[in-house]
Symmetry: D2
Subunit: 260 residues, 4 copies
């Protein structure tokens, strides 16, 4: 009698030494209509993010945007994606539900997911959290200071104890997320608010990281510390497995009680 099942999980192991295939998704609307955003991100926020992520050894970075067919997230693209990075703001509702469910399915199978800034209200992040993920906000020049709460977390590797962004939009608590598995950063704002600005969760087999900074009219994604966070995070959420959903009817491994 075989004493172990076929190595189902083993078969799905994702090698940690393979190229890390990252897809950066951007709404890409502000940069086409708002001169302030265009001045900072002339090729789109996705280009700046891709540039930051390309510093990862063995990274293979592509981009996708809202106005491409299927928002650039076809099944083929998602099948070839290890880590999905998401920036969206004004057009969350335009993202097709079918694409959201397709991406959620890949996260549950094992794909990593990084939600940036106003992606707290993206359909995909809310779907994975099961909650509203709302917060206070104020679109005004403020200074944000991010404190590293868990310096041992790989996402904090190489960072100082705290770092500052001289100008950012404010996000404040309460942030109606599920209690995170780990809080990595907490932000201080001049205006008097605090915010859990870096937090992690697991859903299915996929790791998720939310990172707060990144308003489109500030040069946040050109900041060296922010770029380091992005590179660290993409490596930390990389998949360990790819396991399709299954709810199998299974035979017993031991004799069952005699029926009455």
């Amino acid at each position: 009698m075989p004493t172990t099942t076929p190595p189902a999980a083993a078969a799905a192991v994702v090698a940690q030494t393979a190229p890390l295939r990252i897809t950066v998704w951007n709404e890409y609307r502000h940069e086409k209509t708002d001169p302030a955003a265009a001045a900072i991100y002339p090729h789109g926020i996705h280009a700046a993010l891709a540039d930051a992520l390309a510093q990862i050894p063995a990274a293979v970075v592509r981009t996708a945007t809202l106005d491409e067919p299927e928002h650039g997230l076809t099944q083929d693209v998602l099948d070839a994606t290890d880590v999905l990075v998401w920036w969206g703001h004004a057009a969350h509702r335009e993202v097709a539900d079918a694409v959201v469910l397709r991406a959620q399915k890949r996260v549950l199978e094992g794909m990593g997911f990084i939600a940036l800034h106003s992606a707290h209200h993206s359909k995909l992040f809310k779907t994975l959290m099961g909650a509203n993920c709302s917060l206070k906000w104020r679109e005004a020049n403020d200074k944000e200071r991010l404190w590293v709460v868990n310096p041992a977390h790989p996402i904090a590797a190489g960072l100082p104890e705290h770092f500052e962004l001289e100008r950012e939009e404010m996000y404040g608590e309460p942030f109606t997320i599920p209690e995170p598995d780990n809080v990595v950063f907490i932000s201080w704002f001049t205006g008097g608010e605090v915010f859990r600005s870096g937090a992690t969760w697991q859903r299915g087999n996929g790791r998720i990281f939310y990172f707060r900074p990144g308003h489109e009219t500030y040069p946040t994604y050109h900041d060296a510390n922010v770029r380091r966070v992005l590179a660290n995070a993409a490596q930390w959420v990389r998949p360990t497995v790819r396991i399709p959903d299954a709810a199998p009817n299974t035979p017993p491994l031991e004799p069952l009680p005699l029926s009455a």
Copy 2:
């Protein structure tokens, strides 16, 4: 200058001494077509659940079923519900998305939610978890022994260290749920499997409890220990607040930096 905000949360406090308004929702199909189920639950599983919950002091229990208009879960009913108990199995897909979203909204505001047995695959539970919540299963007479893993948890109050159900369907790990806030019960099955059979989460302001036992052809909800779990759980998930979702644009509490 006022130094605190108006007591928004305070205004939404739900008195813990008020009547506890419980709505038991049941798919109510098996009991009408399967003689084995009908023999055990002649008035429906919801009637047995309601009977167990009526033992709670100050409980006011109503029931609702799939085939009622709006599945019996109109906005008025949900507005007057503190705790929603859910049993579903064969007809998850027939539950209207609008009702699922309405119920999710109430959980996020503060309503308690108890998902029973095959409700692990109900739309509402999956929506709140953000995951597939799949598992192994075997519809065969098995013996289930539930071990109390956290005897200090209020849901375990008054229970023995373990208790048994002589006949139950098997559910086995891996159970693809988000890591629970707390695991209260782990089950042992004769056939060789284990299962996290009682677990808690918070979503928004609402508490959630999943409890495994309850196949429709076994007298599980007549069992004294199971009935105690149900009564304990309904009290533990009762709301503390009712807070509508909001993402307010808020003025600063401290002077902002001078603009550049």
Copy 3:
């Protein structure tokens, strides 16, 4: 064959309607030597804490201090204590290890424990956390604003979204505690720091709450919001059970495999 164990846990259930017996422990040194502390707490910090806790219905509050025999925490006192509240600062090392272990044992059995302010470095809190629980600090007038991160938590009941203490000592992150079960409050300080100022854990069968504010030269424990937190917390950490430690050699519940 009996199918359940004797109701060991049940036997240990602590009635939630019984009087709530609270012991407030205070180092009680600053108030005897520092005029600034004595002016604010003429009868000792313990007297102010006891006064705040006496507002709980059915509370029976006693106090104990470092310089009493056995620091006022004899086995008899601890046996008759449901919730232990701890304020200490300059004399942590003078607390006898035997008393610390005695109190830890009671927490593990089920007693609630509230550690206040500089009790983050008390022997008892560090012993229960298994960690250093260190932090940044600055003894200078600062303004602290506490944000309610989880408004549904019973410890936050009746509080505004945030409240302020016009003068407090600063504590800043990183706070080297184990990841809390729940973070209830996060503080903002004028000087630029943040802090997880209200957090919960469970150890054994006992609930633990750490609450940051309370420097001896500021009138923090006379503040209405702080007093509400204290009263809420004492009720939330109240025991559900009292279960002595045991590691029993137990007979099998099912037939074992035949020996080779």
Copy 4:
């Protein structure tokens, strides 16, 4: 004005590509007095563990035992240790408190720690957990089946969905540990018990893994799946940083309020 602190955390980063220095600690008493243990582990349990861990690329494994001076865990040894593996059973009380505190200090700085089998009651594990970590047990031939609860966890990499140990001692719930950060394995025993047999925590900057199997009279540490768990775990708990404990008095980063 500098806007960031000196990169304290960065300075302490531990390169993930350096050799992985593992110290296997063993009580090493049973193997010298019990022929059944000696037959299975003729060179001691530590030798079998070291052999399993030596399969890790770049691992440098040393061993230490109770009866060596300072139990083989001098400050120099611990300073040169990235991961400490611990097997102890009958002589927990003989381990000097000074060595326990020295090892705890290293874990809090960042060293990984793996506690095996009856090390659940070792001074070091209990000190780090802050709890009794007690459990049920039965020294009798039983079959243990370990289910992988979180197949995405790196500690489960390459394992089948479940694996069996034909003969093992039984450990049963309740296991009075703090709620783990993650449960990786849950065990089923023929005798009717369940157990959280693989679980993780973080204390300070160090990662901790507890793994249940390993009674001295069974060939558990020669099992291929168990050896894979050990190798996976040692890599997962490897340090990311080394940060000494500090509680600094720090100057403000922003102007303080004017004193009254």
